[in-house]
């Protein structure tokens, strides 16, 4: 596959809400990989790949062009810029030779909404029941959870900066939810 391919994200509107205290948008297309690795192999995999996979569930490492996160004891998720695809696939091909693991390209499966601004915590909490105080959900924490009952991966890349990563099939539903929220916010 060439790295200039465009993914059909299933949505077109990039910007859903743009205000001083809250911006919600569909983030640009990314490549995504789901990794299942034996926890006992993780140090060796990190050494061989340079991926910096975090060990702790909920941990993440945000790099220049890639974002790696630990979702479960043996499950990692890699989100990267489209032009990092060739580099990553080379790394994965190498890993597959030396380790028993599973690496699945799920680029087409997910999309990500970005929420930015002072009201971002409030907006996330409307659909997600997690405690988002910095004490319990610090910057850099990620987790699989639910948003309005839809399965998502929630990421916090800044105090007022969240990502809601969901399956493409749930995207129109979540976008619709944010659109209604934007309408209500404008009316209030």
């Amino acid at each position: 596959m060439s790295s200039d391919m465009k993914f059909d994200q299933g949505l077109t509107l990039p910007e859903i809400l743009s205000g001083n205290d809250l911006k919600i948008m569909l983030l640009p297309e990314k490549v995504r990989y789901s990794l299942r690795i034996k926890p006992s192999d993780i140090a060796a995999v990190n050494k061989a790949s340079g991926l910096k996979l975090p060990r702790k569930i909920g941990g993440s490492n945000l790099g220049k062009d890639q974002f790696v996160m630990c979702l479960g004891p043996d499950e990692w998720f890699v989100v990267a810029n489209v032009d990092a695809r060739d580099r990553l696939e080379k790394i994965f091909a190498k890993l597959e030779k030396s380790f028993t693991l599973s690496i699945t390209d799920v680029s087409h499966r997910n999309i990500c909404f970005g929420l930015m601004g002072a009201d971002a915590v409030k907006a996330v909490n409307i659909g997600c029941p997690l405690d988002l105080s910095l004490e319990h959900f610090p910057v850099g924490k990620v987790t699989r959870t639910v948003f309005e009952s839809a399965p998502i991966i929630l990421t916090r890349t800044g105090e007022d900066n969240f990502g809601i990563e969901c399956w493409r099939s749930f995207a129109p539903y979540i976008r619709g939810f944010f659109e209604r929220y934007a309408t209500d916010k404008a009316a209030a």
Partner: protein
């Protein structure tokens, strides 16, 4: 909000992320054992559960979280979780459960 402590995530998480997965500590017979079992024994294994009124050891699944199964002691009358623990730990004894309850009540 109803919170459940996930022993893998090591934090309290909202109940909506979890799914109940039946009674815990039921050993599945191996293939040879299954061949030797009568229909009555098989149906006993498949369908018959203790249906405890009170403290019950049961499996839970952190489906919208770390995706791991774990075990819990939950009171089926009060719906209160006494303890959650990783699969592989032995079924807690009555005195162990009492100790956990005492610790929770300070």
């Amino acid at each position: 909000m109803f919170l459940i402590h996930c022993p893998h995530c090591q934090e309290d998480r909202p109940e909506i992320e979890f799914a109940y997965a039946g009674e815990a500590h039921i050993v599945r017979p191996g293939p040879e054992q299954q061949d030797a079992m009568s229909d009555a024994e098989w149906s006993e294994f498949m369908f018959i559960r203790d249906n405890v009124r009170g403290e019950h050891c049961e499996r839970w699944w952190h489906a919208n979280g770390c995706n791991m199964f774990f075990n819990a002691v939950r009171n089926t009358v009060s719906d209160k979780f006494i303890k959650t623990y990783k699969i592989g730990h032995k079924r807690p004894s009555a005195s162990q459960i009492q100790k956990w309850k005492d610790a929770a009540n300070g």
